[in-house]
């Protein structure tokens, strides 16, 4: 099987994120450590498992600025065979739907059986990439897969929704976004890290892909901090007493009961 994996580099979950005072809508990247988007690890792992079972090729596709090379090396060390990278600012700064269009153009020639990506990128919290890429490649999509079973030209995907889990059957080729719980992503072995150096990273431009982006669809005008929470009440003491105070507070202040 041929699997395309869409991935992105994002700030580490522990990073302290602050708006860049000089650039409205952007964050200050100074001290931030960047990592492979955590959900994308599940996509890479799933792709590797699929090609281990049904031999083929697993190729990574990434939109991201120059610093993204570290994430690209990481997916190659995990086992993807090669990577395609679009690092033009116009692509990097595009909205999620336009990025879906760009990735679709990049992926098209590879003609994958399955496109995988993480269920969400944890920086901009966008979760539409798989659906957008699927639309532009005229294939179905399923988001948030907790389990993927492939049989013939169909994938059966289990995903959670509120209060139920759904079993969805998708005709291949299809794009599927991956949730935690799908698998346990492998750690790259040190030997694989060394071998990643020899794998191909191909840079492509929007012009080469034949993509022309229309007018800007959305733009982040500003980033602001969430309002601080008011200072809370602290109680300490006998369990019965503090629990009683908790109930009083819920009734009087929070008015929850």
């Amino acid at each position: 099987m041929k699997i395309a994996v869409i991935f992105k580099q994002v700030p580490d979950t522990e990073a302290v994120i602050k708006p860049d005072p000089a650039k409205p809508g952007a964050i200050g990247e100074g001290d931030i450590k960047f990592v492979l988007n955590p959900y994308d690890e599940y996509a890479v792992e799933e792709a590797l498992r699929i090609v281990e079972k049904s031999p083929g090729e697993a190729v990574g596709f990434c939109i991201g600025p120059e610093r993204s090379e570290a994430a690209i090396r990481t997916v190659l060390a995990m086992g993807l065979q090669r990577a395609v990278w679009i690092c033009e600012p116009a692509a990097v700064n595009a909205d999620v739907i336009s990025q879906g269009r760009i990735l679709a153009a990049a992926i098209k020639g590879f003609a994958p059986d399955i496109i995988l990506c993480g269920r969400e990128v944890i920086d901009t919290q966008e979760d539409a990439l798989a659906a957008a890429a699927a639309h532009f490649l005229d294939m179905p999509h399923v988001l948030n897969a907790a389990k993927i079973t492939i049989a013939g030209d169909k994938a059966t995907v289990v995903r959670e929704v509120e209060g139920a889990s759904l079993e969805i059957e998708a005709q291949l080729p299809a794009a599927i976004s991956c949730s935690k719980g799908l698998n346990e992503p492998r750690y790259p072995t040190l030997i694989a890290i060394k071998r990643a150096k020899t794998k191909e990273i191909k840079r492509v431009t929007l012009a080469e892909l034949g993509v022309q982006l229309g007018p800007v669809k959305s733009r982040v005008a500003a980033l602001k901090s969430p309002p601080p929470r008011p200072k809370g009440v602290r109680v300490e003491g006998e369990p019965a007493v503090v629990a009683g105070k908790g109930v009083e507070w819920l009734a009087a202040t929070a008015k929850v009961i």
Binding site: V35, E69, A70, R73, T74, A77, Y187, P188, T189, L190, I191, I193, K194, A196, K197
Partner: protein, 377 residues
């Protein structure tokens, strides 16, 4: 000078950090409390290549080099210094000794299984009466026909209880000392007392008992009669591992202190806003940074093939371990009463740090080595 990790080193260290956070940290307090070895994690690290970081690929190693190894040691030690010392012993003492002093046959037999973690090794030098002065050891190896018979008891052997492979140092039949390489099923060998330690409790430390232990002649590691050369040369490299451990423990103590001091409120403001605390934190951060810089310098010296870095590795081990002592001491102080409680990580770090000033050459021995070197004695 180019003071940057290359891509591979950075990725090896990043992967180590992730492994430490996901596989070591969650279980570290429990392993410490129960004095249990996290053997599962150690084996997994073997599969990933972290137990053969300086072993060439032809012997099954990952050959990432000393810089990546030092960085990985820092990451493992931040999460569980007991697992980290197991990694250090395997890489720096066992693999390196075999790599530099072993015959081709020994390398082929032992290194692939050690580098992959299938076998765990230990380095048995210390005795009850021979610590800083290994030449006074009492364990003997006497010629017996074609081979040797070993008798005596070693103590404080790291990885002793989990070792499949033992490097043991003995007095030698004719004169001097010899190193021997054996497997745990050698007749006449047994593991003795398991030590109940103050720190690094998630590592195994045991006596190693040799009672008429019979070994073939090709069990000798290095030159017959020159075992101490094997020991001392190997310990030079070992200091990188222990210094990495000290830096990791100290960095963890610094991280905990930064976090705690921003959260702990006294006199109506976070204690990090008091200058007295800020100065402590600044000193701690400076200490950690300097030790780390020296750590990577010595690792770089090793990677770039410099033969002599005895003085630098002694300085590194001396400074890093005593630095970790200062930093952990302050970290507990910053935490106040809570730092004295087992609920807080700094309590464990404080205990774990202490051994770094003692094993693989005490601070006093390091000073002796440094003084001898700079005085040209």
């Amino acid at each position: 000078m180019d003071f940057q990790f290359n891509d591979e080193q950075r990725m090896a260290i990043d992967a180590a950090r992730r492994f430490a956070a996901e596989k070591l940290a969650p279980a570290a307090a429990e392993h410490d409390e129960k004095a249990e070895v996290n053997l599962k994690a150690l084996k997994e690290l073997g599969e990933l290549g972290y137990l053969g970081m300086t072993v060439p690929e032809e012997y099954g190693g990952s050959d990432m080099g000393a810089v990546a190894y030092a960085g990985a040691m820092v990451e493992f030690s931040k999460a569980d210094a007991g697992v980290a010392v197991g990694v250090s012993v395997q890489n720096s003492l066992v693999n390196d000794a075999i790599l530099h002093f072993g015959t081709e046959k020994q390398k082929k037999e032992y290194l692939p299984k050690l580098a992959s973690g299938e076998w765990i090794g230990c380095f048995s030098l210390t005795e009850a009466g021979a610590g800083s002065d290994p030449a006074s050891m009492k364990t003997t190896a006497l010629r017996d026909g074609d081979g040797f018979v070993l008798n005596g008891t070693k103590n404080f052997t790291t990885n002793g209880g989990i070792a499949d492979v033992i490097i043991v140092f003995t007095r030698y039949a004719e004169k001097g000392n010899s190193a021997f390489l054996l497997k745990k099923d050698a007749s006449g060998f047994s593991v003795g007392k398991h030590e109940n330690k103050m720190g690094i409790r998630s590592s195994s430390t045991t006596e190693m008992v040799f009672t008429g232990c019979r070994l073939p002649s090709d069990a000798v590691l290095g030159e017959e009669g020159k075992g101490l050369k094997v020991a001392l040369a190997t310990l030079d490299g070992g200091r990188i591992g222990i210094a990495g451990q000290a830096v990791g423990i100290a960095e963890a103590a610094l991280d905990e202190s930064l976090r705690y001091s921003k959260e702990r409120v006294q006199f109506g403001k976070p204690i990090s806003e008091f200058e007295v605390l800020q100065f402590m934190l600044a000193d701690m951060a400076t200490d950690v940074e300097l030790a780390k810089t020296m750590l990577f310098k010595v690792a770089w010296m090793k990677d770039s093939g410099q033969k002599r870095f005895t003085k630098e590795s002694a300085m590194l081990k001396l400074f890093a371990s005593e630095m970790a002592h200062r930093v952990c001491h302050k970290a507990v102080q910053i935490h106040g009463g809570y730092g004295f409680m087992k609920d807080y990580k700094v309590e464990r770090l404080y205990r774990d740090q202490r051994i770094t000033e003692i094993y693989e050459g005490t601070s006093e021995i390091q000073r002796f080595v440094i003084a001898r070197s700079i005085l040209g004695a």
